[in-house]
Structure formats: C-alpha cells, structure tokens
Symmetry: C2
DNA sequence: CAAAATTCATTCGTATGCAAATGATATCAA
DNA sequence: TTGATATCATTTGCATACGAATGAATTTTG
C-alpha cells in the first residue's frame, strides 16, 4: 500500500505523510478509554482533596444507604455498581469505623443486612454538601450548558 | 420549614413533596463521579471482552512505547498517566511476559529505560485494530455527532 | 565547590475491582 | 418432595492506583 498509489486528497495526504509508514496513526491520548481513565483519576483527586477520610466508593455506599435505608449487602452492591467481592471490602471498612452496622435477615438466612449507624447518618449528612462541591469542581472546566450536555451523553455511555 | 409555607411553583412543589423533609434530593446516580466510574467500568469490560490477555494500562504502556520508542520508566508513567509505583508494577508484568525489556541509561544512572521487544512490537501492532474496535464499541450508544461532542467535552475534563 | 533541592526508582501499606471457586440457603420444576 | 438451579456471601488471587517513606543520583544554588 505505497503512498504513491494514493489518489490526492490534500488533507489526508498531509496527515499520512506526517506519520511513520507502519503506523496508521493510533494515538492513545485520543482514545475514549484512556481519557475516561484520566477524567476519573482527576475526579478522584478532587474528591480526596475535599473529603480526605472517605473514598468515593465508601461515600457511595453511605449515600445510598441514606437514600434507601437498610438493604442487603448484595443489593447495595448492585445499586452502587460494585460486585460482591468489592462491596464486602467496602462495607467491612465502614463497619470497622462504626459508620454502618450489619444484621441477619430474619427470613432469608443468606442475606446480610446493612444499615447506617447514627454516626454514619451524621457523617453522610455532613458530607453531602461537600459532595455537591466536588461535583461542581469536577465539572468546572465546562460551561453550564456544556456540563448538561456532557452529563446527558455520559449517562448514555454508562 | 413546613411545606405549607412554600409558595406555589408547581413543578418545584411536586418535586419537594416527593422527597423526605431532611433530604434535599442528593442522588448518587446523578453525580458525575459516580457515572464516570460506571462508564469507565463499562469500557474496561468491553476492553476485556476484546483483548483478554492484556489490561488497559498494559496496553497503554505498549502503545505509547510503540508510538515514541524507548523512554525511562518514569517518563512513560507521565505519558500514560500513572504514578511511579503503578507504572513499575505494569512494566514488571510486561517484562515477565517478554513484551518489554529494560536497560540502564548510560549517562543518568538513576533512569531505567524501557523498550518494546520484537514480541512486544508484534503484539501491539496486532492489537491496535482491536483497540479501534473497542473505542467504537464504547462509543456505540452515541451517534457520530454525539460522540464527537462527548470526546471534546471529556477531553476538557481530563 | 559544597549544601540544598530535585528527580528517578523502589518498597510498603491500603483500597478498589473483578474472575473464579466454595458453601449455605432458597426457589423452581419434574 | 426431591433434585436441579439460582442467589447471597465469602475467600483467594491478581491487577491497578496512590500516598508516604527511602535511597541513589543529578541539578541547582549560595
């Protein structure tokens, strides 16, 4: 596939000539996955700067429990998009800090019920305003209109 | 703050009445960070379904090395957005599989140079078409125009 | 030049994140 | 009812991801 055989569309030709023969111009920094990973990293960093003593997954668990009340560990995992193994670790750590408490389901003995403690409730209610600020700061590079568009499209991808 | 005191904008009133008094309507599933995390998860799953024997970070390292040639481990980390500790693990595993080789920088003895092996080069060149398919599948829920908009806005956030 | 500050790499500790295997319990179906 | 399935939780193993501490080498600066 020699370049000489290529008929002449100027921009394309210039583009091709600017690159190495074997490389058809794959640029990592233009790939969704790579940018998605970086955007997520940036968000996590912003989160950590505002809420230092809780991770985003831990916050998600508390926020969801605050929203819906007691549920099973598994159900909670589904709601906050974590598999069973991951959610267990998160809940274990929240339990160790006294933010959630566990109990057995009376009827279905397989289920482990998770609920906020008073301390957990106090914590999440205190943190929610900070979480709003985190969302705001994460979206700060975009105008209000851009942010709305972005959220709409991002939701379609997730 | 009784609801009765609220003057009547219909939509707002209905919205407020649908919620608990103390809860000002914080919904995890509407937060950028949460959706960003889910979108990233989905992408990683798509990646794994197309390229089973390499992770996205490992692929990123190979792709970048293919793009720019030999560099120091640290510099590579900067280019693919990984801190020093993370990049070391990734490179260690690629080395164990014979996809990259390491050498000492002649002048600056602190630096560890990383380069593709012949096998690594063969691998990345074989995988790049699959990576394009992964990008395509990740963006599949969006129209071409939406995808372009999304990429533009995402890049601003990352 | 010599001390101070930086840079590069490594190591340790902690926290996701997921696949796969396992055990206990529930539900479904023949 | 019992045998097959499915669900819930746990555990193990592996792979990011990052802060913090450390040591070696280089660069900056007084």
């Amino acid at each position: 596939m020699g370049r000489a055989e290529m008929s002449g569309e100027d921009n394309l030709l210039r583009l091709v000539e600017a690159e190495e023969p074997d490389e058809n111009g794959y640029h990592l920094q233009d790939q969704v996955g790579f940018i998605l990973r970086k955007a997520h990293q940036r968000h996590v960093a912003i989160f950590a700067s505002q809420i230092g003593d809780l991770t985003p997954p831990q916050f998600a668990a508390l926020a969801k429990l605050h929203d819906i009340g007691e549920t099973s560990q598994n159900q909670l995992g589904t709601l906050i998009a974590m598999d069973a193994a991951t959610v267990k670790g998160v809940i274990d750590r929240l339990k160790a800090r006294g933010l959630v408490e566990l109990s057995k389901h009376e009827v279905d003995k397989r289920r482990l019920l998770v609920n906020l403690t008073a301390q957990g409730r106090e914590a999440i209610e205190r943190l929610i305003p900070l979480a709003r600020a985190i969302t705001e700061e994460t979206l700060a590079p975009l105008s209000a209109k851009e942010a709305a568009t972005f959220m709409r499209l991002l939701a379609k991808l997730a």
